[in-house]
């Protein structure tokens, strides 16, 4: 099953997004969330991102959802620390953090594979609000 890592500048956004996504969870999709700096301020902590990526189940792949600049940069920098095979299994999705996490959780729950989940959460339908 594909795992999901949520990375936000805010500890509360990360935790809240995880909570929302978990409502949609069936089975044992692993969802981890990291947010804020070491001091608990707004920002991202690369050490925490690295620790989460090390810990998370990467067997079927990991989808990473992130919010702004430094989160994205830190993730890209950290993915680079893994070996070539693992790198291919960690995908930073071009998707909004909340909607992306929720859709990814639903799809991961039904055993969808990594590349399919990525293309579906990267589609504009994910953010569609107007009927």
């Amino acid at each position: 099953m594909v795992s999901i890592l949520i990375v936000s500048h805010s500890k509360e956004i990360a935790a809240g997004t995880k909570k929302l996504a978990e409502q949609m969870k069936q089975g044992d999709v692993e969802i981890l969330a990291v947010g804020g700096t070491k001091e608990g301020e707004i920002g991202t902590d690369p050490d925490a991102i690295y620790a989460s990526l090390k810990k998370i189940n990467k067997e079927d792949g990991v989808i990473v959802l992130a919010d702004l600049g430094s989160a994205v940069m830190n993730i890209n920098m950290i993915i680079d620390r893994f070996d070539e095979d693992t790198k291919k299994k960690i995908i930073l999705a071009d998707a909004p953090i909340v909607e992306g996490a929720i859709f990814a959780t639903v799809e991961a729950s039904i055993g969808e594979k990594l590349s399919n989940i990525v293309s579906s959460i990267e589609s504009p339908n994910v953010i569609k609000k107007k009927q």
């Binding site: 301020e41 707004i42 920002g43 902590d45 690369p46 600049g69 430094s70 940069m73 830190n74 920098m77």
Partner: protein, 216 residues
């Protein structure tokens, strides 16, 4: 025969401590610049990161220049907090892979400049003219290359590098930001000097001044 300057890890440590001091001194200034077009944390982030760098290197000895610069890079990566952490961290990490152990000539400085740009661009995907730290760094490295072609002395080349960095920094004022938090402001990002370009200038200024003082 190209002119060489000896720079040991003791000297580089000294340079980093001076960089830390100038960034801590300019904490409010950088934060003010960032408040205008960003999230008002650049000064705070840089001061926090370099304060930690200072603590970490001050009482330690390092086996070579690479070891010292790598320590600085890793410290910045894990303590800065904003986008400048991975950007400056990667720049210094790249430097640590190629930095000579003692003798530096114009080519050493050019190579260092090139690896900085490569690291920052790989992560930040920015080009010159997008109101970022690269607007200071790219002209500074170009000035080194041009100085080499003109056959200028190493001291003159470093002076030219600092001058180009300062001009590059000032040239960010009218630019429209298309990268980072400032890009959300669109047209309103014009008319402000970029905080990242400013911290890059401060760092280059310290390095050049310190190297030149060593040559006199």
């Amino acid at each position: 025969m190209s002119e060489k300057i000896k720079v040991t890890s003791e000297k580089i440590k000294d340079i980093f401590i001076k960089i830390a001091d100038i960034l801590i001194e300019n904490k409010s200034y950088l934060t003010e610049l960032d408040a205008a077009i960003g999230d008002a944390d650049h000064g705070i982030n840089m001061a926090r990161g370099f304060k930690k760098v200072k603590e970490k290197i001050e009482d330690d000895s390092f086996k070579n220049n690479s070891d010292l610069v790598k320590t600085v890079a890793m410290t910045l990566i894990s303590t800065v907090g904003g986008a400048s952490g991975p950007l400056y961290g990667t720049a210094f990490l790249n430097i640590s892979k190629i930095i000579p152990d003692s003798d530096f000539d114009i080519d050493s400085f050019i190579k260092i400049g090139e690896t900085i740009i490569e690291g920052i661009q790989k992560l930040g995907k920015a080009q010159q003219g997008e109101k970022t730290m690269l607007d200071t760094i790219i002209p500074a490295v170009n000035a080194l290359r041009e100085s080499k072609v003109k056959g200028l002395s190493l001291e003159r080349a470093l002076e030219e590098c600092k001058k180009a960095a300062e001009e590059g920094m000032k040239a960010t004022i009218p630019l429209l930001a298309t990268k980072g938090r400032a890009s959300y402001l669109g047209e309103r990002s014009k008319g402000h000097q970029d905080p990242g370009a400013t911290s890059s200038y401060l760092i280059i200024k310290v390095i050049v001044d310190e190297l030149i003082s060593e040559m006199e």
